[in-house]
């Protein structure tokens, strides 16, 4: 593991160009540092690289989807003992997607299209709950 602990506030996993822009605009407006991963595999890699306290994860992404990426991250956590909050971003929150997200080990979900207010609310909530960085050896 790299020692980049706390280098960014949020990791965004999102494959869609338009929504990458949406997230970027909102993050900049909120004054948060962030990285964008374009698929699940990249998300896992950037999680390991940046050790963010919070991840916003799109559910449907190419290569590796958000559910798989979450499971992978949770496995990695089992050996490290840390815990990152993962918010699912889903287009189908009403159609049972939210349950699948929680089952896959995600902590919360937010419906798309993403509005700045909704996202800010979720980020505030989870950033306040985020445990202090775990010092591991």
């Amino acid at each position: 593991m790299t020692g980049n602990n706390g280098a960014i506030d949020v990791l965004i996993a999102e494959d869609n160009d338009v929504n990458q822009m949406v997230f970027s605009f909102i993050m900049e407006e909120l004054g948060l540092t962030f990285e964008i991963a374009a698929n699940g595999q990249e998300a896992v890699a950037k999680y390991q690289q940046f050790q963010p306290p919070l991840i916003v994860m799109d559910v449907s992404m190419p290569v590796m989807n958000g559910l798989e990426a979450t499971q992978k991250i949770r496995e990695l956590e089992a050996s490290s003992g840390s815990k990152v909050a993962i918010i699912a971003a889903t287009a189908h929150a009403l159609k049972g997607d939210s349950e699948r997200c929680l089952e896959a080990g995600m902590d919360d979900y937010i419906a798309k299209p993403i509005s700045p207010d909704k996202l800010k609310e979720k980020l505030d909530h989870w950033r306040n709950l985020a445990p202090p960085a775990v010092i591991n050896g």
Binding site: N19, F25, S115
Partner: protein, 449 residues
């Protein structure tokens, strides 16, 4: 993504034509909805926000009336060209009504961003327009809404933008308002009041209250102004400052006014015969040529002498359609109803209007009366108004008199009539009868001594 500039000359595709505005070549309402639906469908798998807005030209109708229809069309063309060139490749501009345009920005995600973009459009539209040898100016109001909810339909989105537009127009010209949840709440509140008011009007539950108007010198009551009061069974007391504008906007003011006039004249019939009843007409009633007929038929039914009735109108009321207002005023005066100009001195007071219209009376706005003791300008203005009224043969009533000193000062300047809390607050018909009985007894008592 399609560009905002639609090719209307080349391929005369019927489907394409059906979505094109023939005057401006912009897309029409159908195109606007089509674009929204497409964008939502395109992004169905991964929904992202986008922004729409409706532009309404302020003051286009008067320009159309003044310069003529073809000049109006010409201005609409100029407006379209300006709007079109202000759009980027992804966004679209459509004409959705006579002087209404709607736009869609697929890549605008935040409230602040759409506000800035809409402000830019307003600025583009505010530059002068050429109309033959002359120039005209227009301003515009914009209501915007952002697509944030997955299950939202284009219709819902448009209705949100319309709600925002309504707020923009209400707050003045040249404003941008972005829809918010609070507006929904406010709109619901207005809808609740509207519904309750409709019921109350048909059940005859809006009541006339009466405020005395006195002869300032003798302090004797010479008449009463009728004011609408409403206590709803569910909502409780609703301020006239709240329900009258709603009645005006939602077309309830006509029936409400008829109810009030009927009740007021029934009450006033019982008053001593030398007392007049003063009754307010709203701006929308002054553009309705049936207003005069309604008034006369009510007077006939209740048997109230038209010569004892005074109609109060405001300058704002006259302004929206002076010709129509003038005709109504003439009709009323022909049967002996007196007409007074209310709230004089604060609106767009035009002396020309005093020449064109024949007012029997003028009511000086409370703003001057309340500062008559403190500042010289108010004093001079009141004296000038009084001199003018004397010259034109109009009676005068000063509104909003709150204490004896103000009343004395007005007498000193030669003002005949007065009204205000100092002489009496508006009270209902029964209390008004009580007031008159006391005044009558007082007068008898005074004689006996």
């Amino acid at each position: 993504m399609n560009s905002s500039v639609e090719d209307t000359n080349g391929s005369a595709n019927p489907a394409e034509l059906a979505m094109t505005d023939s005057l401006t070549g912009l897309g029409n309402r159908a195109r606007f909805y089509d674009k929204m639906e497409r964008l939502i469908a395109e992004r169905a798998e991964d929904p992202a926000p986008f922004a729409i807005g409706i532009i309404d030209l302020d003051g286009f109708k008067p320009i159309n009336d003044l310069f003529g229809r073809s000049a109006g069309d010409d201005i609409l063309l100029q407006v379209s060209m300006r709007l079109r060139s202000a759009m980027d490749e992804q966004s679209i501009m459509t004409r959705v009504g006579g002087d209404e345009f709607a736009f869609l920005y697929p890549m605008t995600f935040r409230e602040e961003a759409i506000k800035d973009q809409a402000k830019m459009l307003i600025e583009v539209l505010s530059a002068p327009y050429d109309v033959g040898e002359r120039t005209a100016r227009l301003s515009a109001s914009v209501g915007c809404a952002l697509y944030y909810f997955n299950d939202e339909t284009p219709q819902q989105l448009v209705s949100r933008a319309e709600t925002a537009l309504y707020h923009a127009k209400r707050s003045g010209r040249g404003r941008v308002v972005v829809y918010s949840q609070e507006m929904e709440e406010a709109a619901k509140r207005v809808a609740r009041i509207e519904q309750a008011l409709r019921r109350a009007v048909s059940a005859g539950e809006v009541e006339p209250h009466f405020q005395p108007i006195v002869d300032l010198k003798t302090r004797q009551t010479i008449g009463f102004e009728c004011l609408a009061r409403w206590t709803d069974r569910d909502l409780g007391f609703v301020s006239p400052a709240v329900f009258i504008p709603i009645a005006e906007e939602r077309g309830i003011v006509g029936p409400m006014s008829q109810l009030l006039l009927r009740k007021a004249t029934e009450a006033a019939r019982e008053w001593p015969e030398h007392l007049f009843l003063s009754f307010n007409l709203s701006p929308s009633q002054l553009v309705d040529q049936n207003t005069g007929l309604h008034i006369l038929s009510i007077l006939e039914k209740t048997g109230f002498d038209p010569k004892r009735l005074e109609i109060e109108i405001t300058e704002t009321g006259v302004m929206s359609d002076p010709a129509s207002a003038e005709k109504i005023v003439e009709d009323l005066r022909r049967v002996g109803i007196r007409v007074s100009l209310d709230d004089f001195g604060t609106g767009q007071s035009s002396l020309g209007r005093l020449r064109d219209f024949h007012f029997d009376k003028l009511k000086i706005d409370r703003a001057f009366v309340s500062s008559i003791l403190e500042d010289r300008p108010s004093e001079h203005i009141i004296r000038a108004i009084l001199a003018m009224c004397e010259g034109l043969g109009m009676d005068v009533v000063a509104e909003g008199i709150e204490d004896e000193k103000q009343a004395d000062k007005l007498v000193q300047f030669g003002c005949q009539g007065g009204q205000g809390f100092f002489f009496g607050k508006p009270v209902d018909a029964n209390a008004t009868m009580g007031y008159l009985r006391d005044a009558y007894r007082g007068a008898l008592h005074a004689k006996a001594i």
